[in-house]
Symmetry: C2
Subunit: 185 residues, 2 copies
C-alpha cells in the first residue's frame, strides 16, 4: 500500500512547513495522520528519510506550480510579470496549491540543518538550481545577467515577505526588473 506512505508524506510536509521540522515530532505526524508507528518505520528508515521524502514532494509540487505560472509567456517582460504576480498570490495566502505562506520550505530547511554538504542542504541547493533552469528556459534573452537578476529578486522577495512580513514586495519587483531587462544590453 502506497496510500499510507503518501498520507505520511502529506501530513509530515504540512506540519514541517507550518511549524518547522525540528518542532515537529514523529509522534505528532502519527497522531495527525492516524497511522501507526510501525507502519511509518516500515516505509521510512528514519525521520531523516521522511524529511527527504517531504522535500521531494514539495519540490515536485513547486516545480509544477512554477511551470504552470510561467506557461504562455512569450516575452521576458511577461515572464517577469507572471512570475512575480504568482509570488504575490503565494505571499498573500491566495494560492491553493502552495498552501499558507511560511517562507520557502527549502530555505527554512537549510537554515534548520546547517549540515553543509549533507543530504538536506544538498537537496535544497539542487531545488534552487532547477528553479533557476526553469526560469531560464522561459526567457528569450539568454544572457545570464537577467536570469541572475530575476532569481536574486525572487529569493529576496521570498525572504522579505516572510521575515519582514512585506507581502507587497513582489509587485515592486516587477517594476524594478523591467527596468533591468530594458537596460541590460
Amino acid at each position: 500500500m502506497n496510500k499510507k506512505r503518501q498520507l505520511l508524506i502529506d501530513t509530515a510536509l504540512t506540519l514541517f512547513y507550518a511549524k518547522g521540522i525540528n518542532h515537529t515530532g514523529i509522534n505528532e505526524v502519527l497522531s495527525v495522520s492516524g497511522v501507526a508507528k510501525n507502519t511509518l518505520y516500515n516505509h521510512f528508515e528514519s525521520k531523516e528519510a521522511l524529511i527527504i521524502a517531504t522535500l521531494e514532494q514539495r519540490h515536485t509540487l513547486f516545480i509544477e506550480w512554477l511551470t504552470s505560472k510561467l506557461e504562455g509567456a512569450d516575452s521576458d517582460q511577461q515572464v517577469i510579470t507572471q512570475l512575480f504576480t504568482a509570488l504575490a498570490q503565494w505571499f498573500t495566502h491566495c494560492d491553493p496549491i502552495l498552501g499558507d505562506f511560511r517562507g520557502c520550505f527549502f530555505i527554512n530547511s537549510s537554515a534548520e540543518f546547517s549540515d553543509q554538504g549533507g543530504q538536506i542542504s544538498l537537496f535544497c541547493k539542487q531545488h534552487k538550481q532547477q528553479c533557476r533552469d526553469l526560469i531560464g528556459q522561459s526567457l528569450t534573452n539568454k544572457d545570464a545577467s537577467l536570469l541572475d537578476a530575476i532569481c536574486l529578486m525572487k529569493e529576496g522577495a521570498i525572504s522579505t515577505a516572510y521575515v519582514s512580513g512585506d507581502v507587497t514586495i513582489a509587485k515592486k519587483c516587477i517594476t524594478l526588473l523591467n527596468i533591468t531587462a530594458k537596460n541590460i544590453n
Copy 2:
C-alpha cells in the same frame, strides 16, 4: 559579574549561528563556556531569554559592521559598491567581524521559529527594518525604489550565497544595481 553573562552570550551566539539554535542544547553552551548551569539560570530566565540576548548581540555587531562598511560613500553608486563588496567578503569567510558565513542569523532564526508574531520573529523583523533604514540614510536618492532594489538584492544575495553556495553573486549585484540606479528616474 557581567563577565559570565557576556561569556554565555558569546558562546551561545557562536554555537547557535554555527549549528542552529535547535541543535544547540543548553548543556553544550555550558560545557563550551565552562560556566555552571546555576549561573546561566541566574542571568537568564530561560533558554528563550538567552536566544533573545544572542539576537541582540548579533544585531549590535551587524549594525556596527554595516555602518563601518557604508562609511565614506558619497554617491549612491559607491554605497552599492561598498555594501556588496563587504557582503562578498562576508560570504567568502574573509570577514573577521561577522565570523564564518552561515547565512543570516536572523533569517535562520525566523525559519527555525515559525512563531509568527512571537518575540524571536519580531526581533528579526525589526533588525531587517533597521538595516534598511541605515542603508537608506546613506543614499542621496531618497526615492524608495532604489532602496527597495538594494535591500531585495541584499536579501537575495545572502540567501543565494548560503543555500546555493554561490559566493560570486554579491559582485554581480553591483553591476545589476548600477543599471537600476541609472535608470530608476
